[in-house]
């Protein structure tokens, strides 16, 4: 068992060199890498958080859009229904008018025909009456006897 002063001094010099080496070439690069990794992990975590937040936001937005779309679709449907009802209503109205017009027209026609027929009939009856009168006159002219008959005929028309 011995403590040797030259060994102590030598060892101290070696120790000093080792510490200097560690301080210059070992410690800084490794701690720098550790620090960089720490920053990177922090950034990664922050990015993940941001991603989650934006996902949440996006899904909320899409929900909202879906809701709006649904409401809009409902509105469109309602409007379309209303419009269809109006169209049917309008069509009904037009049809009714048309029908009335047709009927009116037909009535007019019938009236006209009837008038025409009456006219014809009156003419024919007149002719017939004249013919009948001529025949009767050929045989016996007795106007007084037959005047009431002719008058009655004419009145009937």
């Amino acid at each position: 068992m011995q403590a040797s002063i030259p060994s102590i001094v030598g060892q101290m010099i070696v120790f000093f060199i080792f510490v200097m080496f560690t301080m210059k070439y070992v410690w800084p690069p490794i701690t720098k890498a550790l620090e960089e990794r720490r920053v990177r992990i922090a950034e990664g975590l922050a990015a993940a958080e941001r991603g989650a937040a934006s996902l949440k936001e996006a899904s909320a937005k899409s929900d909202e859009a879906l809701k709006a779309a649904r409401i809009q679709a409902q509105e469109i449907l309602t409007a379309a229904n209303k419009q269809a009802t109006q169209m049917v209503e309008a069509a009904k109205l037009t049809a009714t008018h048309e029908a009335e017009k047709i009927v009116e027209h037909a009535n007019g026609e019938v009236l006209r025909q009837v008038t025409h027929a009456k006219e014809e009939l009156r003419r024919q009856v007149g002719d017939l009456a004249v013919l009948g009168a001529a025949r009767i006159l050929k045989r016996e002219v007795n106007a007084s006897a037959h005047a009431d008959i002719l008058q009655d005929l004419a009145a009937r028309i």
Partner: protein
């Protein structure tokens, strides 16, 4: 070890002889070089620096490899230890603590190599080189040599003054040394107490480490004296216990260094 089997006393003494260059065998030698301690500790330090330097060069902020992971674990452990008690710039103190921790750990772990292995090989090599194999001395545990432990603790002792001056200035240091803890009227008592306190630090640092590892080595040597069948259980037990000692002593040395430096650096 000798040709005729040595007596236990001879065996133990032989194991406790340093491989020296020149010098005498006095307790504190001014001329002897402990070649084994110097070479082995330097080699261990170079292993430490090589491994850590490789990692430092390849260090990536991305996914670390296994070696980088391991080294980063040690560095973060040391950095946290320093951070918790030293509040100045860590640019020097943290690498210092790292060097101390890993280097002392490697020194101590030399104690886990079977006590006879390296001396036997050394004796063979020494004999093969044409010398007397009986005088092939070698001790491979640097921390079981006071020269190594005092080299560290004296370095720390010097750094204590450096950091005292840095933190408080020469005046502040002198004031604390003269007036602390009893006030200016008890100046001699203060000086006495502070002198003892300051001297106790390197002594206790060096002797604690040395004592633990020297005792550990001695017990391994004593276990090696037992018959082979009786060595297994005490050898195993002491070995397992020693794994704790190896780590713990390295940790204690590092922590005390940090604590002493932070005490020196900060005002009281």
């Amino acid at each position: 070890m000798a040709s005729a089997s040595p007596t236990p006393a001879e065996y133990v003494t032989h194991h406790l002889q340093h491989l020296t260059y020149a010098g005498d065998s006095s307790f504190i030698s001014a001329s002897a070089w402990h070649v084994d301690t110097l070479i082995i500790s330097t080699l261990l330090g170079l292993i430490f620096l090589t491994v850590f330097r490789i990692v430092a060069v390849r260090a990536t902020a991305g996914v670390p490899g296994k070696l980088q992971n391991f080294v980063e674990m040690i560095i973060e452990f040391v950095d946290n230890s320093v951070k918790s008690s030293f509040h100045g710039s860590r640019a020097f103190v943290a690498p210092l603590a790292l060097t101390i921790f890993v280097w002392v750990f490697l020194w101590n772990s030399m104690d886990l190599i079977p006590v006879d292995l390296v001396p036997k090989l050394w004796a063979l090599a020494y004999g093969a080189a044409g010398h007397d194999a009986h005088h092939a001395y070698i001790r491979i545990v640097p921390s079981a040599d006071m020269s190594a432990t005092f080299a560290l603790s004296i370095s720390v002792f010097i750094l204590i003054f450096v950091y005292s001056f840095k933190g408080k200035g020469a005046g502040g240091f002198a004031k604390e040394f003269l007036f602390h803890p009893f006030g200016p009227y008890l100046l001699p008592a203060n000086v006495l107490l502070n002198t003892v306190e300051y001297l106790a630090r390197p002594m206790s640092l060096a002797l604690r480490l040395f004592g633990n590892l020297y005792a550990g080595e001695l017990i391994f040597i004593l276990i090696a004296l037992l018959p082979w069948w009786a060595q297994v259980i005490p050898g195993l037990g002491w070995m397992i216990f020693h794994i704790l000692v190896v780590t713990l002593q390295a940790f204690i040395f590092m922590t005390l260094t940090i604590v002493y430096l932070s005490m020196a650096y900060e005002h009281h």
